[in-house]
Symmetry: C3
Subunit: 109 residues, 3 copies
């Protein structure tokens, strides 16, 4: 048995938990208030047999890898608004950190 502890961005959490759920992974979401990744993130705990660890990692890789995204910038406060032409900028989003922890036993009551 392993316990996977994963820190992922909030925006990737919904898609990720859907995919994990479809493949019968059991997960618990913890409210996370800061951390490894700069934006709002969520910590997931997944208890799983050793045989399924690779598949879980693949799901993380496919659904929350770091990637670039074009976003419309916030227009600057004050300044010469007339001459300001907002240009979409590239930002890095996503990213996951996954810890594989040994688990000795687990019980369901």
């Amino acid at each position: 048995m392993k316990l996977l502890i994963a820190i992922v961005q909030d925006k990737d959490t919904s898609r990720l938990t859907d995919v994990l759920g479809e493949e019968d992974f059991k997960l618990t979401k913890l409210a996370t208030t800061g951390g490894f990744l700069k934006e709002g993130n969520t910590t997931l705990m997944i208890g799983t047999d050793d045989d399924y660890v690779d598949r879980a990692l693949e799901i993380f890789r496919d659904n929350c890898s770091k990637r670039e995204q074009m976003v419309a910038p916030i227009s600057p406060m004050g300044g010469n608004a007339d001459s300001y032409i907002p240009q979409p900028v590239k930002v890095e989003v996503g990213g996951a950190t996954v810890f594989i922890m040994p688990m000795e036993q687990y019980y369901k009551f």
Copy 2:
């Protein structure tokens, strides 16, 4: 040393933490926003000597096992309210998942 990570239903948390506290288990509650159990749940972390793991498991079994409960259903919105006779329905409540994790050392400062 072991770290027990337990996911329990919110409604069982108060009684459970009372019993664990009376027997000197030290616990930390994490806000949990979803997961293994369908209803609102809480994640507890309990650091304990190996000798007390069995007793902790017994407390979980006694205080938050899955069980059936009769609940009054919410009356349906709209529809023919006059002919609607609410019947209590059986629902499954409780349940706990407990992971036993090896801990190498712990420090108190």
Copy 3:
């Protein structure tokens, strides 16, 4: 690799995370709703190479050990306010519990 799980008081969290961040420790904060320490506390997770565990423990020891602090008491509601002279009282603040957990692997995506 180790995963350090630390429970610290809220009031020590900001200074602690600053110091840990300056030394390149990567940490995740979990919202904690109760537990080992009586006052509001925070749970931190820190993934680190074995070589840096001692330094991390030193940072915890230096920044959140138990200590005494003089605080102005709340003046009692009602009672004879005229004759009430508030005296600062000594209270114990701080304190940290740190669990050292083995980690088998970690991945960043």
